[in-house]
Symmetry: C2
Subunit: 427 residues, 2 copies
């Protein structure tokens, strides 16, 4: 028996998927029973450099999701609409879904999985996070025996590329590197989704939902991008034994915390050596301890590998049981998690302050921090130009609220010029 696939979108990833399906030898034997039946695209007149029968292309995307011959719809058009409506329409028609669309899953996962469960179809999403890294299957299946305590990842390649280059080349600025990343295709013309952490937020919402078993409201995730990270901070972090990475963190720490922010990572931590557009995710759980998965987080090959893995899983499952979905491949969440607001979190912090070079400024700072129980691990005074002293502070684990209260008071000190940077450490 052969299984018929409809593909929505034939850009980079779609082309990668088609290449795999057209060349099944040497891959999983199940792929020999899969056939691309229809391809929905926006423009029919584009040369895509692959040998697919032109007659299977259509610019009527609805015709793909309603085609009665199609078993599985692979959605690769991205964005919210029409992706969301097409996915829901395909589910209503009893089709299984494979999607790489983190934006629609993070916002409409509830609606989509509720519809899929009601209809008894699969919605598979390995390609939505971490490219080809098998993190979704690992969380859904391989780590099922564990009580997960934390998922921590570098899950945005653009920002990791920028931060890695800032770390390797102290004289390049954020703006110069961003321009280069755009020229190289590692960053979009509008870099907001990556640089300001929105993409990582969508992805950690999906991972947290799988790891902790409840749906996540995006607006409850604390998000901070990397625009305010300077070469100076990268250099100071290095002197202290840290690398700055944009981390997405979901952890159970007297309640669920989920946050995306630039983070000082100790140099000997497995995530510290993940450079360039590579992604990596660590999962900590009881009793497994910690596992780390890394690989290309984006690109034609890695993402297409994940899409086709999902397709293989669907075909293998419906081959033996077309009626009742396998519980490990479905979504069993029906409730929204309560995520702790960042104001009640605790962390170690890195602070860079500029002060007028008065005697006693360190003492004043120390008194302010002490007053609000902000215990310090390191305090370093650096020489600086134009009459200002640079002071680097690393705190112990302290409460966010206490830190912010202390900083408000510090900002009013006569000796203080400014606080250019406040970053968190991985603790």
């Amino acid at each position: 028996m052969s299984y018929k696939v409809g593909i929505l979108g034939m850009g980079t990833v779609g082309t990668g998927v088609a290449k795999i399906l057209l060349d099944p030898v040497g891959r999983h034997a199940i792929l020999q029973s899969v056939e691309i039946k229809r391809v929905g695209v926006r423009s029919l007149n584009k040369d895509r450099g692959i040998i697919l029968d032109p007659s299977i292309f259509t610019d009527d995307l609805e015709a793909v999701v309603t085609d009665p011959n199609i078993d599985v719809v692979i959605e690769l058009i991205g964005g919210i609409e029409p992706a969301r409506s097409l996915i829901l329409q395909a589910i209503a028609q009893g089709k299984h879904i494979v999607t790489a669309n983190k934006a629609v899953l993070a916002r409409y996962g509830d609606e989509i999985f509720t519809a899929a469960t009601a209809k008894g179809v699969y919605v598979m999403l390995e390609a939505a996070v971490g490219g080809g890294i098998p993190i979704i299957q690992t969380l859904k299946q391989a780590l099922g025996a564990n009580k997960i305590t934390a998922v921590t990842g570098i899950i945005n390649g653009t920002t990791n590329y920028i931060l890695s280059r800032m770390s390797a080349n102290p004289h390049e600025s954020f703006a110069e590197i961003l321009a280069d990343a755009q020229a190289l295709g590692y960053a979009e013309a509008d870099p907001t989704a990556d640089v300001d952490g929105y993409d990582a937020t969508d992805k950690i919402a999906i991972l947290a939902s799988l790891a902790f078993g409840d749906r996540i409201k995006l607006e409850q995730i604390y998000r901070e991008g990397i625009r305010h990270v300077t070469s100076t901070d990268v250099a100071r972090a290095a002197e202290l034994g840290y690398v700055i990475k944009l981390l997405a963190i979901a952890r159970n720490h007297e309640g669920l915390e989920i946050r995306v922010h630039p983070t000082l990572v100790p140099k000997d931590h497995p995530l510290a050596s993940i450079n360039g557009v590579t992604n990596a995710i660590t999962v900590a759980g009881d009793p497994i301890g910690e596992v780390v998965l890394s690989g290309a987080g984006a690109g034609m090959g890695a993402t297409a590998s994940a899409v086709v893995a999902d397709l293989i899983n669907i075909v293998a499952a419906i081959q033996v049981q077309p009626q009742r979905p396998n519980q490990l491949m479905g979504c069993s969440h029906h409730h929204y998690a309560t995520v702790k607001p960042i104001t009640v979190s605790t962390s170690q912090y890195y602070l860079r302050l500029l002060a007028y070079d008065h005697a006693g400024v360190i003492g004043d700072l120390g008194n302010c921090f002490g007053k609000y129980e902000v215990n310090l691990e390191t305090i370093l005074q650096k020489h600086h130009h134009q009459g200002l002293a640079e002071i680097i502070v690393v705190t112990k684990v302290v409460s966010e609220l206490n830190l912010q209260t202390a900083l408000t008071e510090i900002r009013s000190l006569a000796a203080l010029h400014s606080i250019p940077t406040v970053l968190r450490l991985l603790a």
Copy 2:
């Protein structure tokens, strides 16, 4: 409906499995339908520190595999017999198998999987390689879209612990560290299986079989342990920018190559920073590129996590389809692979030679290597004591046969004292 499990063996891993099954809350919901029905042990009079009803224990192991109420047998007694016979007997009774037994799988996988396929039951082996690292499921399912080109791993914790300590502490000898590892429980009283590479050979046979789709004969795998690696070699490798690791390598390189040997790994390679008892495995494929998975390779928690993951997968599958096994969870290999003999392989090599301090010795060596097309990348002469010069040679990629021929001729040079070390590089 509840699923009944029989466990053979209640040592470290068995205890870990029982702890998980007795405390299912916060883990995958499916575990709440699993019950430990019988436990087969060698001695009934041992305190195992877990609260299991004493009446489910038996020292009659056959009674467990023939119990008509048991759905899944978890085999954790290790070794070849009676493990092999009990597994086969359980399969004959229609029971699914979860095993961590790499030795029996690497030797009797053919017999066991043939029996399982005939009977329509699952034999799951996630715990056999890499502890909790989900490498088996990744190879069987998540990377199914790929043509795998290489699997490269640090899959023996004992040897990685020894080599990491030799690297960190240049003044400790292999023998001292081995004694410590034994005291710490990282090495067995008889360390042969680990130190001489037998354990890694069993494991890479299993991984190669999954990655390349054919069964593997153990005796076709080239195996070299770490007893001959000296602190001097670790130090010289470090000077050249390498770390010495015991790697297990299976790669498709004009034919299938499988080998286990100490290897010089470039310091910036992801495997170079894997230290202590941690395991890590890289998988390279088309189109995914390379993914790396790492974590604890052994121990109660990690291994129990993998065993229970397999159990979850079996229960989820038989819940919806008790008759026909899912193709992705079975074994579809029916042929033995042809593995290239090491004599026709190519590699870069590291050589340490001791020569009498004659003028012209470097020239003589260069001539010998050149005569057999052994091109050199680096040649370093070091001072040494007792009238001997130490010469370190790193070759380019050359044929094993040419290298061995050149070394035979070099051994007969009047200026040569000895060749204490010949190691391969990761190329």
